[in-house]
Symmetry: C2
Subunit: 336 residues, 2 copies
């Protein structure tokens, strides 16, 4: 007979009561030892010995029921195969681990019905908090559980943590200028909602205007438009086999990669003919070089801030929008 047999699972191992009996002490004393409270040395030793003999395993459901604290945080993300979300999941999980908290991972695949279900599930599980990255416009914010969002501002009572998207846009414009670009464009595909990442464009435009750098903008709506819009845009801006732009700032690294493929098909070389800067800071295979030159989101800091904030819970003392600094990183799509 192999392990895992025996259904239903026989009632899980010894309890505090068993330990108490084995050690010849009271139940409460065992609890105090387990929780590291002050206990007479002789008692502590007896309890620890009994725990060892019995192979006692602490049961968190009991504690959760009693204290209404689960030490668990739900993380709601569209997916985990996109490298940016993977990175976020990674750092949030580590930040929670440092604080002895657990992570309940919930993936929505951009399905709003599923998202609602997951929020309910989190409530049923009495998680201590929810960290949510969602583009659902009518997300129902639970009343009784602290919730923070990434990149999406809902209201002053729901803290939103985001990278400094505006400054990132400014940074990209200045960098392209510094690299000698004389005519640039910003390309983006995004949802229709007023999310924080939209400020990438605002920063870029604002800096271009200020520097007197000629620019254009091509923004498509992810839910409606096809990416072939970008083909059209690029073709319209080809003249004599050359692209009219010598610098591009693109909303995400992922889209940058797509655009670069399109440029290659048009015979435009990167970075020789046009230099490209993306956004996010995605590395090849997670730890190698940057996929493209990019504005790097401070993912570890975002994660840390989310965890810190959601566990802090006194939202009245917390800013409703927390903006973290970005940085520029060179990849192979700029000339430096």
């Amino acid at each position: 007979m192999k392990r895992g047999d025996g259904i239903p699972r026989e009632h899980s191992g010894p309890t505090m009561a068993d330990v108490a009996k084995e050690a010849g002490v009271a139940l409460g004393t065992v609890s105090r030892v387990v929780n590291g409270e002050q206990v007479g040395e002789a008692f502590r030793e007896k309890v620890l010995a009994a725990i060892d003999r019995l192979g006692y395993k602490y049961n968190s459901s009991g504690r959760a029921l009693r204290t209404d604290e689960t030490n668990t945080v739900a993380v709601i993300m569209p997916n985990a195969d996109n490298p940016f979300f993977g990175l976020l999941v990674h750092h949030i999980c580590l930040a929670l681990g440092k604080r002895k908290r657990r992570m309940l991972l919930c993936l929505t695949e951009n399905d709003r019905a599923r998202e609602t279900e997951l929020i309910q599930m989190a409530q049923q599980n009495r998680v201590d908090g929810i960290i949510s990255l969602t583009y659902n416009p009518d997300l129902v914010i639970p009343e009784n559980i602290p919730l923070v969002t990434i990149d999406r501002f809902f209201s002053v009572s729901v803290p939103c943590i985001a990278a400094d998207n505006f400054s990132g846009g400014v940074m990209a414009a200045k960098k392209l200028r510094e690299l000698g670009c004389t005519r640039v464009a910003f390309l983006r595909a995004a949802s229709e909602l007023p999310t924080e990442p939209k400020k990438r464009k605002d920063g870029f435009v604002s800096a271009c205007v200020e520097m007197g750098l000629p620019f254009e903008v091509k923004a498509i709506v992810e839910e409606k438009d096809s990416f072939s819009e970008f083909d059209r845009f690029l073709q319209e801006h080809m003249s004599g086999g050359r692209l009219e732009f010598d610098g591009l700032f693109i909303g995400t690294d992922s889209l940058a990669w797509i655009i670069i493929k399109k440029l290659r098909e048009l015979g435009v070389r990167v970075p020789e003919d046009v230099q490209v800067i993306g956004f996010d800071g995605i590395r090849m295979f997670g730890n190698q070089e940057y996929a493209v030159s990019t504005i790097v989101q401070p993912v570890a800091e975002i994660a840390e801030t989310c965890v810190h904030t959601v566990l802090f819970r006194h939202f009245s003392n917390v800013p409703s929008l927390i903006i973290l600094p970005v940085s520029y990183a060179k990849g192979s799509t700029t000339r430096e």
Copy 2:
């Protein structure tokens, strides 16, 4: 002082008892309605109405305590920023979701002490199962919780799910041959443990021998050797500015990417001078083209199988090693 006597409950909302009182039925009836058991229509409606009025939220800690089932599975992974692990996390989470189970994500960062802690934590949480991808040689397998592993065989009582690494190796050799290669090599960096992925080499070697295709093998030990071993290897096999191999099979896509960079530095072009096949099936940004030509692991099937197996629990009726078929996918590192 008792909780009920004047002190309002802190955050816990209404309970089944409250619903029962509100609906004018018994506690058990509420439970039966909530669990979808047979209940008279009039009663069901009264209960549902009361649930709605009170905003009752089911509390899973109570149920877990009572039934010793948490509907939660712990997933133990080295990290989530490596795209292969991210993919695995993604598909496992979806497979669990389909079965109304939750995922407790645990990252080890290859720290064995942390790994032990996490297993303990999973036991304390009374998870219904553990899915573990670890290279820890002396992992302590919990007695009382079904555990399955990915890529690492421990014993017949611990089911191991893996891709068909051997066939993948064979496939790579045959493909290189088919693509006209006349002298090939296999490069790998791996742990010293006897993991399933080691069979990639065995399959490759076996097929090369059978086809009479000249080959060499360069395997380094991840924990000890430096990647500069590969530089040496490549340099030793350069003659007259050309690489002696015209085909390479590399243990992972990630390493393939690294090797390709090294080749480029040596002035060797891919795929013109040497064709390269990796292993894993990593796509750019998770959903674009394959990073390199590759043997694709069936990640969704692996995830599905892990979840199915770990929840099934009758391990006596489960093979102790489950091998799933791989496939070849063209990237830009082969000529086709």
